[in-house]
Amino acid sequence: MKLKYILPLVLLVLVFSCSTDDDDNTNPVNEVEGLLLVKEIVNGNQTIELFNKKGMFETGYNEISIRLKDNTTDTYYEDAILSWMPIMQMPTMQHSCPKSAITKADGKDTVYKGFIIYQMTNMDSSGWSLTLDYTIDGMDYSLTETINVMQYENQNVASFMASDDSRYILALIEPKDPSIAINEMKVGLFKMQNMMTFPVVEDYTIALDPRMPGMGNHSSPNNTDLTYNSVDNFYYGDLSLTMTGYWKLNLKLMNSGDDVLKGEDVTEENEASSLYLELEF
């Protein structure tokens, strides 16, 4: 009778202890595998490491992974609290851009994640700086570093004034790796409330009409308009691409009352909407 209770307990202890040993003995898994280092910033006893897929910042949507290293022990912090503020310095003023909060990456111990959507950059990729605030063990730290943001070859982000006299920023997130198929299209839509605040816009609709200007400006079938998904605050729709090449994704932004705020229909006379994103593959 007693054995029945004790045995599982013993086994549990054994297994648990074994696995802990394993973790400690083997080399820790590389949690940034497949990512390239964009920038390393030393701030006293800490080093901030910024990673993404391409190893550089570009205009448009940037998914960023962050690690925070304790230089004294050469280990990474696992319970820091981070926030950031990108700033573009213009000749007469400065502004920020849409960004997410920084959260711990799913299933990772040392990696934090977030995104920043740079809507513009200077020709020489200068102009942007990034301020990072973080808290470790109740201590607050802050640093500011200039960063380079390269101009992406296509228009993957649009910053525009709409008919409601508000400025919006629309960024292409998916498809990252498009194929000749019906691709899931994902965009982020933000309103420029002021120079530093860019809240998510909810419950609008974005009409989609992909065209190929290099091939008679033809479209493709079975696209759907993008609608808001309240789970992750992005907009989703179906984008069908019938061949590789350069596609212009003509868009029309409509508010929840279906009033068109920006963009026009593509017709024989009007070969593109004033609101569009671009895609090449």
Partner: protein, 666 residues
């Protein structure tokens, strides 16, 4: 439907099958003038073959229910009973071979030349199913078999010239036949510049150049066993297609086979022939010669086929059985790259045939039962299993844009049944046949992706979910001879269910610049095709004879629209003069006005026409060899005309003087 099939199966098996061979076997040595030469030189011929160097296309066109669709001066597409190549099975000596062009610029008949072949067998409707499933009929281009007749070395040469298009053809044949060993080699070269339509109007991009070489060798292992191997290499370059927006820079085929023959004597099994084969085709379209194109593009295509068949002939009592077990594996791939006029934009690319693999295996059984004097019943059945697979994942995904619910694989069971009853009397012949057949969609119909059809100016999208196309068929033949007058009637009726044809996809914009829209292959509930031909001939004297043919065809779909490419009223008349070593014929060939044209499927009305041809032939026999001379004038009146089968109404050749010389070395 099921009932019908059951009934037909019952008819078939209760009678143990037959099928009066109404097959239009156009064998060699039927021409009076050529019979001496042809037999040894194994050239194709027919009583209406005017030129010894005519192409297979010219040759096939002489058959009543065969018409050639012309997109230019080369590589014509055969149709049987007004049905195009998707509904036919075209084989080379029983070998499956599939064109590599998505736009049908390379029918199989373009990859062989008359010098390769011994005869062509055309089977109308279900009588053409010996080598595969079809609805319209079958064409088998048959290679010569090895001859071990110890005739030694034979050589012959051909030379042809035609004024229109400055056409040159030249051929050389070598053949050695020993007791146990046989080898033959031949080569042919054809070249034409642009031809002129009537009134000396040059048809641009109608040039072509091609050569074809073949090598065949056989070895007799024992009295009953022999093997032979055959290689054909065919290469056409600089082929213009005036009816299409693109030309062809290369159409190349390598066709190989290895055959074992078993001919036991004094057994019920008469022959057993087993062949293994492989063929590969490369087809490259080209628009670099066209000065004005909206966009430059490359469109290469490839088609590789492996296969086998095993064919047995069994004679037992009054029955003649034919068995054919066959299988093949085909890989069809075609792609399109478009080069944007804006140099900053990347090239555009798509798979137009996304690597489609077809695996087929089937069996064919036929019984000719001669149960009474002059009476026979002939029945056949073919059963097969057909699988298509899309090998490229991107192909599945791209087709899913139009058809969300498709898998990468699709399998079908196919069946074909035919039976015909034939009564032969001294002065008359009556045959009546019934058939039921099914076919799988072709690669283009099933899996094509934005295939531009310049005929109706639409882009076509394949549909993997198409049902099998099924046809019920009835045919009737009758001929009677009254002394010097002979009259005959041939007629077929097809009721086709799930007739595959493109239907306009609303609100889908065409990919091709300037196209009207997009059609997706779908099926009409049913369609009917009817054709009837009346032939007659009259022997005026020993030297003079006349013959004539009139034909009527009809085709309509269940949507009450006319079907496209249905031949209008047609007529042909010929006056012949024959004496030993000389013949002459004056021909009148014409079509009525195409009033039942199909505007719905992009056709316009083609006006009536009539042309006159004069053909002459001489034969010279001498110690230094035999010479056959063929010469004449085609389209004597230089009419400027086009027929219903001319793609986009490109005009046909105007007046043309031709001369062919064939020389057989002694």
């Amino acid at each position: 439907m099921k009932k019908l099939i059951t009934i037909m199966l019952c008819i078939l098996f209760s009678s143990l099958g037959f099928s009066q061979e109404k097959k239009n076997e156009q064998k060699k040595d039927t021409t009076k003038l050529e019979e001496v030469v042809i037999k040894t030189r194994r050239k194709l011929s027919s009583y209406r073959q005017e030129k010894t160097l005519s192409s297979i296309d010219d040759y096939l066109e002489k058959s009543n229910n065969v018409t050639m669709i012309k997109r230019g001066n080369y590589a014509w597409e055969p149709t049987i009973n007004n049905m195009v190549s998707d509904r036919l099975v075209v084989t080379i000596d029983g070998m499956q071979i599939f064109g590599a062009c998505t736009d049908k610029m390379d029918p199989i008949t373009s990859y062989v030349d008359v010098s390769n072949l011994e005869k062509v067998t055309v089977g109308s409707g279900q009588e053409g199913t010996e080598n595969g499933h079809c609805v319209g009929g079958g064409i088998d281009l048959q290679l010569p078999t090895s001859k071990f007749n110890e005739s030694g070395l034979k050589t012959s040469a051909d030379l042809g010239y035609e004024t229109n298009g400055n056409f040159i053809a030249t051929g050389l044949d070598l053949e050695y036949s020993g007791q146990k060993f046989f080898i033959s080699a031949d080569g042919i070269f054809r070249k034409s510049e642009n031809y002129d339509a009537g009134n000396n109007l040059e048809v641009l991009y109608s040039q072509f150049r091609k050569y074809n070489i073949s090598l065949q060798s056989g070895y007799k292992i024992s009295e009953n066993h022999s093997v032979d191997a055959n290689i054909i290499y065919d290469r056409a370059t600089d082929v213009g297609y005036p009816a299409l927006p693109m030309d062809v820079s290369l159409a190349e085929a390598l066709i190989t086979s290895f055959t074992h023959n078993y001919n036991p004597e004094d057994k019920a099994l008469k022959t057993l022939e087993t062949k293994l084969y492989f063929n590969t085709i490369t087809h490259i379209m080209d628009d670099t010669k066209r000065p004005d194109v909206p966009i430059r593009m490359d469109m290469p295509g490839w088609s590789d086929t492996f296969g086998f068949y095993s064919k047995a002939d069994v004679l037992k009592g009054q029955h003649h059985f034919t068995f054919n077990l066959n299988g093949f594996y085909n890989k069809s791939l075609a792609e399109m790259t478009m080069f944007s006029n804006n140099p900053n934009e990347p090239d555009m690319f798509m798979y137009t045939w996304p690597d489609i693999r077809t695996l087929y295996s089937g069996i064919f059984v036929k019984d000719d039962w001669h149960f009474a004097d002059g009476k026979s019943l002939s029945s056949s059945v073919r059963l097969g299993y057909h699988t298509n697979r899309i090998a490229k994942e991107v192909g599945v995904e791209s087709l899913q844009i139009f058809h969300p619910n498709i898998d990468d694989q699709q399998s079908r069971f196919l069946m074909s049944l035919a039976s015909s009853y034939n009564i032969k009397k001294e002065d008359s012949n009556i045959a009546f046949g019934l058939g039921y057949g099914e076919r799988a969609p072709s690669v283009s119909e099933g899996y094509g992706f934005f295939l531009f059809n310049s005929f109706d100016n639409y882009d076509y999208i394949g549909n993997p979910n198409l049902k099998n196309e099924k046809a019920l068929e009835a045919n009737f033949n009758f001929s009677k001879t009254y002394d010097k007058f002979k009259i005959g009637l041939e007629s077929s009726y097809f009721y086709i269910m799930d007739y595959i044809i493109g239907d306009i996809a609303q609100n889908v914009s065409s990919m091709t610049i300037g196209a009207n829209g997009v059609r997706v292959y779908t099926a009409l509930d049913n369609a009917s095709i009817f054709d009837v031909y009346v032939n007659s001939s009259y022997t005026i004297s020993d030297r003079f004879s006349v013959n004539g043919t009139v034909g009527y065809n009809y085709g309509r779909g269940s949507n009450s629209e006319n079907l496209p490419l249905i031949r209008p009223f047609s007529y042909f008349a010929e006056l012949n003069y024959n004496k030993p070593k000389f013949n002459a014929s004056l021909q009148l060939d014409g079509n009525g006005n195409q009033s039942n044209y199909s505007s719905f499927y992009g056709e316009n009305e083609t006006a009536s026409y009539a042309i006159l041809n004069l053909n002459l032939g001489n034969a010279f026999y001498g110690e230094k060899g035999r010479t056959i001379l063929k010469y004449g004038i085609e389209n004597i009146l230089d009419a400027n005309y086009s027929t219903y089968a001319d793609w986009n109404n490109i005009p046909r050749q105007g007046r043309n003087f031709y001369i062919n010389i064939s020389y057989v070395f002694p």
